[in-house]
């Protein structure tokens, strides 16, 4: 019963998000703003992946391409690669942003597939329990993405610091928690 309620809340959140995105399509265009511009970005991130018996972290690089769809709405697709060992993510995002001078804060929803859940452990302690509980976690996840310190400079470049993604895997939602900090990300508008 509780799980059904939680699923309903989640679906309600996603539905409201979609409705608000549709609502933004009625905004008037800001003077001089260009739609359909493409942006590429390169970033360096730190991921914490937490499950009941495991608390693992890794660093990695990410590369993404975004397209401005409306004034404040952007769609983005990208990949991440953990450095050691080599594990990967693929993701898509819908982002809503604001403009205050050079400050470009943004927030959005991200979903993707990730292999960065199964970590080798340096000790055998709880290894078998961890393997038993991670067996059916699944690869797809949902998270929110925020860019509180994103700044545009020289019209075509954007520097973003300390972006934060907080989420969980779809299967057994809530059993794992993904917290990712993008330490630095540089974007260029093509």
């Amino acid at each position: 019963m509780e799980r059904e309620k939680n699923k309903s809340v989640l679906m309600l959140c996603i539905l409201c998000l979609l409705l608000s995105f549709m609502a933004t399509s009625s905004y008037t265009q800001e003077t001089g703003y260009q739609e359909n511009k493409i942006e590429i970005a390169l970033g360096y991130n730190f991921l914490i992946n937490q499950s009941v018996y495991g608390f693992n972290s890794s660093t990695g690089l990410e590369l993404s391409i975004a397209r401005q769809i409306k004034q404040s709405f952007k769609a983005e697709i990208g990949v991440r690669m953990e450095i050691d060992p080599i594990l990967s993510d693929g993701f898509i995002r819908g982002i809503v942003s604001q403009r205050f001078g050079t400050w470009r804060p943004a927030i959005g929803l991200e979903t993707g597939m990730t292999n960065r859940t199964h970590f080798e452990s340096s000790t055998n302690l709880l290894k078998e329990s961890r393997e038993a509980t991670l067996k059916d976690i699944g690869y797809s996840y949902l998270s929110t993405h925020i860019e509180p310190l994103s700044f545009q400079f020289k019209k075509k470049f954007n520097l973003s610091l300390l972006e934060l993604d907080i989420g969980s895997h779809f299967k057994h939602l809530g059993r794992t928690m993904r917290a990712q900090i993008v330490l630095v990300r540089i974007k260029k508008i093509l």
Binding site: S51, V52, Y53, N124, L125, K127, S129, T133, G174, R175
Partner: protein, 329 residues
């Protein structure tokens, strides 16, 4: 004053559930009172001595530290002791060997067949391995299980009761994880698991909060932990104890199935994987390192155990078993 008024208003507009009733109250109480508490402490001393006189097993792959002195883990003599005690009571005892790489786990199993519903198995578990002598962790629970097994021979239950002394819990619940993963627990419908049930303190501040969860600061209670699957049983246990003044339990319900980060501390024993698999299980503990200063230390000796606390807890666990296994009139 205004704040209290608003708090009362807030409380009144929310709601709570009724506690489910227990069948055969009197028989449950009779079973709890049949526990010979004078047997418990001598058992603790005997099992403690078997650990002290035993040779630690190899801790290869399990590096040692302060909270985890893996180079001082003993279990071999305890395996033999528990098996012998159960055989002497008249049980058919099986040694379920689990794992295909070292360290191999030796779980000791004995059963009482249920009369009306023998295919439904209630598992009563505790781990028999220990660091150093391990008086509280975990000879108290082993002693309790053996005494409950002795008392249970004189009663009939609708469901089958399976007593399991798990091996290598201190190495990350290896015995129970393998027992479950290898399919030996397919017929288990519910479980009661005990881990450290003998230490209490009446000093303020003796009980620490547990991962952000506020606990009463005087550590004189038995922690009885369930999850959403075992919520009713946990409520019944606390209610029964309250009604008949058996012990002093603190009932805790972990969120949903309990398999989350903040509630992971409540999964730190042999019931953890049962929760993960969706089986109702209730866990009994005195709070481990959040209360007992002798946790995983050579000072975990029988003289640090509080005998009345252990006796009352054993009676309550016996009552819990009688409720769960549906004791017959």
């Amino acid at each position: 004053m205004k704040l209290r008024f608003i708090a009362i208003v807030l409380m009144l507009i929310s709601c709570s559930k009724e506690i489910p009733e227990i069948n055969n109250h009197t028989k449950v109480l009779e079973f709890a009172q049949s526990i010979k508490t004078e047997n418990l402490y001598p058992l603790v001393e005997k099992i403690y001595q078997t650990h002290i006189n035993d040779i630690p097993i190899s801790n290869e792959g399990f590096p040692s530290d302060d909270l985890f002195p893996s180079d001082h883990l003993t279990r071999s003599a305890a395996v033999g002791f528990v098996a012998k005690e159960l055989r002497d009571m008249g049980y058919q005892v099986d040694t379920v060997i689990c794992g295909n790489q070292p360290p191999i786990a030796y779980n000791i199993v004995a059963e009482i067949k249920g009369v009306a519903n023998p295919n439904s198995v209630i598992l009563v578990g505790c781990h028999l391995d220990a660091f150093y002598g391990g008086a509280d962790d975990n000879t108290t629970a082993v002693a309790a299980m053996l005494e409950i097994a002795r008392a249970a021979r004189a009663f009939s239950f609708n469901k089958t009761i399976r007593f399991v002394a798990f091996d290598l819990e201190e190495f990350g619940s290896l015995g129970s994880t393998r027992y479950i993963e290898e399919g030996h627990a397919k017929d288990v419908s519910a479980a009661l698991v005990m881990d450290l049930i003998g230490y209490s303190s009446n000093q303020a501040g003796s009980q620490k909060d547990v991962m952000g969860i506020k606990m009463p600061s005087v550590g004189d209670y038995l922690i009885v932990v369930g999850n959403e699957n075992s919520a009713e049983l946990t409520q019944q246990i606390v209610s029964f104890s309250h009604t008949y003044n058996i012990s002093k339990p603190l009932g805790i319900l972990a969120p949903h199935d309990g398999v989350y980060f903040m509630s992971s501390v409540f999964m730190r024993s042999d019931h953890g994987l049962l929760w993960y698999k969706g089986l109702p299980a209730v866990f009994f503990s005195d709070g481990a390192n959040f209360r007992n200063p002798h946790y995983h230390k050579p000072t975990d000796r029988p003289e640090t155990i509080h005998q009345d606390f252990l006796k009352n807890n054993t009676k309550l666990i016996a009552a819990s078993l009688a409720i769960l296994a549906e004791i017959q009139l």
